[in-house]
């Protein structure tokens, strides 16, 4: 029984219960004590007190999208760097070379984007 997974299951249930209980209580309270009152003005877009004019769904310039993609790539890269950084001292040379190759591949992408001129904001 020692290494049975029952302990883990109990822990998971307790964790989920601990999170869900206040939410359930809050939902219960809201059902009785804070009735929903949607209104024309309340659900309108907040425009500094004015009536919203024009539409917010417009075509944005493409640079935003490219900036977003470049950021995403490097964000994911840092996640992969984390285990590498943590176990850095105990790594062999081969692991080190593999990591550097991974890094250089991404940096090469950045250099290409830079030369292509995506980063300069016209």
């Amino acid at each position: 029984m020692q290494n049975s997974y029952l302990v883990l299951v109990l822990l998971a249930v307790a964790a989920v219960g601990f999170a869900a209980a206040p939410l359930a209580l809050a939902w219960l309270w809201a059902k009785f004590f804070s009735p929903q009152k949607p209104g024309k003005d309340k659900n309108a877009i907040y425009e500094c007190g004015l009536e919203g004019k024009g539409d917010a769904w417009i075509h944005f310039r493409s640079e935003y999208y490219l900036y977003g993609i470049i950021f995403l790539v490097f964000d994911v890269e840092t996640i992969f760097l984390l285990p590498f950084a943590v176990a850095f001292t105990g790594l062999s040379a081969g692991a080190f070379v593999a990591m550097i190759v991974f890094l250089l591949l991404l940096v090469e992408g950045l250099v290409w984007a830079w030369r292509k001129g995506f980063l300069t904001w016209k």
């Binding site: 804070s34 009735p35 009152k37 024309k40 003005d41 309340k42 004015l50």
Partner: protein, 203 residues
Amino acid sequence: MIDEGLKSELQKQGVYVTSMQELYNWGRANSVWPLTFGLACCAIEMMAASMARFDLARFGAEVFRPSPRQADLMIVAGTVTKKMAPLVVRLYNQMPEPKYVIAMGACAISGGPFKQGYNVLKGIDRYLPVDVAIPGCPPRPEALLHAIMTLQEKILNQKLTGPDRPRHLNADVEGEYPVPTYGPHDLQPSKNSEVWQPPPIQR
């Protein structure tokens, strides 16, 4: 409710008894988040009240939320002009439900020194239900602190159930007030008669 004698008796033994209503009101009273709604000179006194010397933070109200979605107290600090009135009412409508209004300064109460102006609304209580009104032009920061304390007392005494429970707790009371529109010389309608019932004139 729990009678005081039993409550103090238990407190001596270190047992604290409270009711759901007290806990609910206590939580809401001590964390009233005001909306940054500075119109004129009173706004500067409101800012001075939230700064280090007069310190609105002692009453849990120093978090000034710029957007009405996250605020539950609107301090109308300054002169409400007829051009600004529809926006004030629309902002009030866009605030989540347990919401209160403090009319700070003589201008927000009745037009104040600018009463004869053609573009000045004679008090915000023509369109909005005002909970606490602070006289003064501008009222001193201490007066604003006293208004916050008065508001906290009002929240603490609110009932959770029963006929005289506050507006936000019963479903059929409409939480929104009609937004006036701009007319040729005045707002249309010039006052919201459902909210604005002045006592008869003593003359």
